[in-house]
């Protein structure tokens, strides 16, 4: 007999767990959360040093404690969390069905709704086309954090590539492992993290250089060194035994894509409307799958809201029909949600990211009519919120871009 449930949540990170707790609170029936890892909590499980939980639990927690608290809350509310369970496919013809594998074998499950909360990961060395040899010691921060969690060290004297918050986390993780980064480099002319955070590398004695890129990586078995091209065009050889590559987040959207859901080339995640519905109205998406990358707290709060919409959709009371689609214009990397439906109370704000740090005038164009907003400073790693346009007359294509 095929197992059934009301909502299947795929991914037990902050978004998936927040949605699970909220759905149970709203009386959504049987809610199952499947998680492919052997522990619930998502990325915060590996973040020992960041402050988590203010919004969610009104106290400051470390990553692992925060992850545990989220899972406990979802379980206490009555959600079933299944660990070590991998979704291998979503069928959308007729009723929704999901194929799952775990140590006990392959099973099918029929949910009324699915919430995808599969999160995000950093862009790999391969996807970033880094030039050079491919020895051991080149890792993303996420992998480095997992090493640290297990008390293992992949290198001793790494180079840190990137300068956003995650790169700073990488610095701290290295320190916890007894590794001493030789340098932190950023390809852009200035660090991506807010200036106030950049005291950290100075504190740790790690030089930060911007406008620098890796021209070559040396090493057959392990990384032995890199050749850097500096901002002034000169080259520099630097000995190191590893590279921690941080940032450039990519949603983990392979399931969504394999299921045939519409994917936004801007975010890399599924296209949603302001209720969190993907191109299949029975499948919702939440968390960093929608927008690489936001904090755990943001994902938690957003997923809670979207879970509310999902609960309404279980009784088929969400409005239907796309009225407008929203597209990123010049200078804008993406806009979420990408599709707008008239009526109902969905997300109130659009989330935007710029492609490059820029100061300019945000312009919204709708059917040739334009509404200019005030001048804004935009950064690629910082979200910008705009109110969802009034759709009483609008429709068609809304384009949001930056004008000089």
């Amino acid at each position: 007999m095929i197992e059934v449930c009301d909502v299947l949540i795929i991914g037990a990170g902050p978004a998936g767990l927040a949605a699970a707790a909220r759905l149970k609170q709203l009386g959504a029936g049987r809610v199952i959360v499947v998680e492919r890892e052997t522990a619930a909590g998502g990325v915060p499980r590996h973040c020992r040093h960041s402050p988590f939980g203010m919004r969610e639990f009104r106290r400051v927690l470390g990553g692992p404690a925060y992850a545990r608290a989220l899972a406990e809350r979802a379980t206490n509310m009555g959600a079933e969390i299944r660990l070590g369970t991998t979704v291998v496919g979503i069928e959308r013809n007729g009723d929704l069905a999901v194929a799952l594998t775990s140590d006990t074998g392959v099973r099918r499950l029929k949910p009324k709704r699915i919430l995808l909360a599969t999160g995000t990961r950093e862009k790999t060395r391969a996807a970033r086309f880094l030039t050079g040899d491919r020895p051991l010691g080149i890792l993303n921060t996420g992998a480095l954090q997992s090493y640290a969690e297990k008390g293992l060290a992949p290198f001793r004297r790494p180079l840190i590539l990137g300068s956003e918050l995650v790169a700073l986390s990488s610095l701290l993780t290295c320190r916890g492992l007894g590794a001493r980064p030789v340098m932190m480099i950023e390809e852009r002319p200035a660090p991506l993290a807010r200036a106030s955070f950049m005291f950290l590398p100075r504190l740790l004695g790690v030089p930060v250089r911007c406008g620098v890129r890796i021209a070559d990586i040396h090493g057959q078995k392990r990384v032995e060194g890199v050749r850097l091209v500096l901002a002034d065009g000169s080259e520099m050889d630097l000995a190191c035994d590893g590279i921690a590559i941080s940032g450039h987040f990519t949603p983990e959207a392979s399931l969504a894509r394999a299921a045939g859901l519409e994917i936004d080339p801007g975010t890399g995640g599924p296209v949603i409307d302001q209720f969190g519905r993907t191109s299949d109205a029975r499948i919702f998406a939440a968390g960093n799958l929608l927008h690489p990358v936001e904090t755990a707290g943001w994902c938690w709060a957003e997923a809670r809201r979207l879970a509310g919409f999902l609960a309404i959709s279980l009784s088929d009371q969400l409005p239907e029909g796309t009225v407008a689609s929203v597209h990123p214009g010049p200078g804008i990397a993406y806009v979420v949600p990408q599709r707008l439906v008239r009526g109902g109370t969905g997300l109130k704000q659009l989330q935007l990211r710029a492609t490059e740090p820029v100061r300019g005038r945000l312009a919204t164009e709708d059917k040739g009519k334009r509404t200019l907003s005030r001048r804004r400073a935009l950064f690629p790693e910082r979200r910008l919120l705009l109110p969802v346009p009034d759709l009483t007359q609008a429709g068609g294509n809304i384009v949001i871009g930056i004008e000089d």
């Binding site: 070590g84 991998t86 291998v88 790999t124 050079g132 890792l139 993303n140 035994d241 392979s254 890399g268």
Partner: protein, 457 residues
């Protein structure tokens, strides 16, 4: 000290196949590999196409070895559980000049015994490949070209050799040696070894080994680098057939095809270089490969890149295989085996055996047949069977049971590359973001070069 009948230098694709062939005839075989695991040199980076030989030089040894190798692979793959992704290939003409070249290529294919090739129209190309760029002017359809798993077969061959008492010595670089008229004594980094006959399958070091032990080489290796880009599995929805360019004198050109593991591959580049060690990837070449792939298959523009790699092919100053026996020295050199070597390996092994034993004694009646775990995407994988423990690599759905199996048995993985090739762990879209640390944990104590660094005291 044991004197082997045969010492095979190099556990690449050719070395593994040669070792198997001799072991199957009852010879005592010693394999000397300088790296920690098999397929660590030129062999690890190929396009995984099982070629028909349709465009090989007519009457050449290369063609004969490819055809014999192709036939034997099809013959034995069922017994060893080796996959075959039946794709067929199209040699696409994108220009008028290339279109004009297709006729002669078809004639050559038929002369080479590939009778089922035919020229097809743009309409028929579109019916085979609806997502391909509409700019194709025509194509030669070669139904017999297929895709295989480029690593499991050679592991299977070496396992079979080992089951027939071959000794496999890894991390054993040949550093010198002498022939006393009857027996070769070889110095290696793991000690002295003796064998009656030496077969040089040293790939990129083929000429160096000949020079070292014979004093001279008949050829010179001129490494040719090939870079590849592997697209995410989502790309496989858009392509079925192997897309080949019209070949040139120097290279078979940039190929676009699926992999047995469910991805789409584009490559290789063909870059001459002196260095035999470094096979770097570089951003400009990779971006150019991606550009060319999108040019041929436009939906790729929205598909991510899963992996990039590069390898060196042991090209020489001449195009043909450099296989030669020196009976008076009890020595056979198998050199200059380039891109077609993966297809030809089994055929080369037979050819070399015939050079060694012209009476071609039949192989042993009882053969040990290793059954390989399947890694191909289109066939059932380990995760579909209960009791796998845990899913270690989520992108490639690699289980702990698979990893543990690859770390044990007669030829366990001895480095991370070897484990990746045996299981596909960390080969997927996240390249170890999720599983690297767990793999480091599971492989502690197994690898010569471990994934972890010892903690600073």
């Amino acid at each position: 000290m044991r004197v082997a009948d045969i010492a095979v230098i190099g556990a690449g694709a050719v070395g593994c196949a040669v070792a198997r062939r001799f072991a199957l005839h009852g010879a005592s075989v010693l394999v000397l590999e300088k790296e920690a695991d098999l397929l660590s040199g030129a062999s690890k980076a190929n396009s995984a196409i099982l070629h028909t030989g349709f465009d090989a030089p007519p009457g050449s040894l290369e063609l004969a070895c490819m055809q014999e190798g192709y036939a034997e692979y099809l013959d034995i793959r069922g017994q060893m559980n080796l996959p075959l992704l039946e794709t067929g290939a199209m040699v696409i003409a994108w220009t008028e000049a290339e279109l004009a070249a297709l006729g002669p290529i078809a004639d050559q294919a038929r002369a080479n015994g590939i009778g089922d090739v035919r020229l097809i129209s743009p309409a028929e190309i579109a019916s085979h490949e609806p997502h391909l760029s509409g700019r194709a002017l025509g194509a030669l359809l070669v139904p017999g070209e297929h895709i295989i798993d480029p690593w499991s077969p050679f592991l299977a061959y070496l396992l079979q050799a080992k089951a027939h008492d071959a000794e496999i010595a890894f991390s054993s670089e040949v550093t010198g040696g002498a022939f006393d008229g009857e027996i070769w004594t070889l110095q290696t980094s793991t000690g002295e070894r003796r064998a009656k006959t030496v077969i040089n399958c040293a790939g990129l070091y083929g000429d160096a080994i000949d020079k070292l032990l014979l004093g001279a080489a008949d050829f010179e290796i001129r490494p040719r680098k090939g870079q590849f880009v592997v697209f995410d599995k989502a790309a496989a929805d858009f392509l079925r057939t192997i897309i080949l360019p019209v070949p040139t004198e120097r290279t078979k050109g940039v190929v676009l095809c699926r992999t047995a593991f469910g991805n789409v591959l584009v490559g290789p580049t063909a870059e001459e270089q002196k260095d035999r060690v470094r096979a770097t990837t570089d951003e400009a070449s990779l971006r150019e490969l991606v550009r060319r792939a999108i040019d041929m298959l436009p939906p790729l523009k929205d598909i991510g890149v899963t992996a990039v790699y590069a390898g060196l092919r042991p090209a020489t100053e001449e195009k043909h295989y450099r296989i030669a026996a020196k009976p008076e020295r009890q020595w056979i050199t198998v050199g200059g085996i380039r891109s077609t070597g993966m297809t030809a390996a089994l055929g080369i092994a037979r050819h070399v055996y015939r050079m060694y034993d012209s009476s071609a004694a039949p192989p042993l009646p009882e053969q040990h047949l290793p059954l390989m775990p399947n890694l191909a995407e289109h066939l059932p994988r380990d995760w579909s069977q209960a009791g796998y423990g845990e899913m270690v690599c989520h992108c490639e759905l690699v289980t702990r049971r698979e990893i543990e199996a690859a770390l044990s048995g007669p030829l366990p993985a001895r480095d991370f590359g070897g484990l990746r090739r045996r299981t596909r762990c960390a080969m997927g879209r996240c390249q170890g973001f999720g599983c690297h640390a767990r793999i480091a944990e599971l492989t502690r104590g197994y690898f010569e070069t471990p994934l972890t660094i010892d903690p600073v005291a």
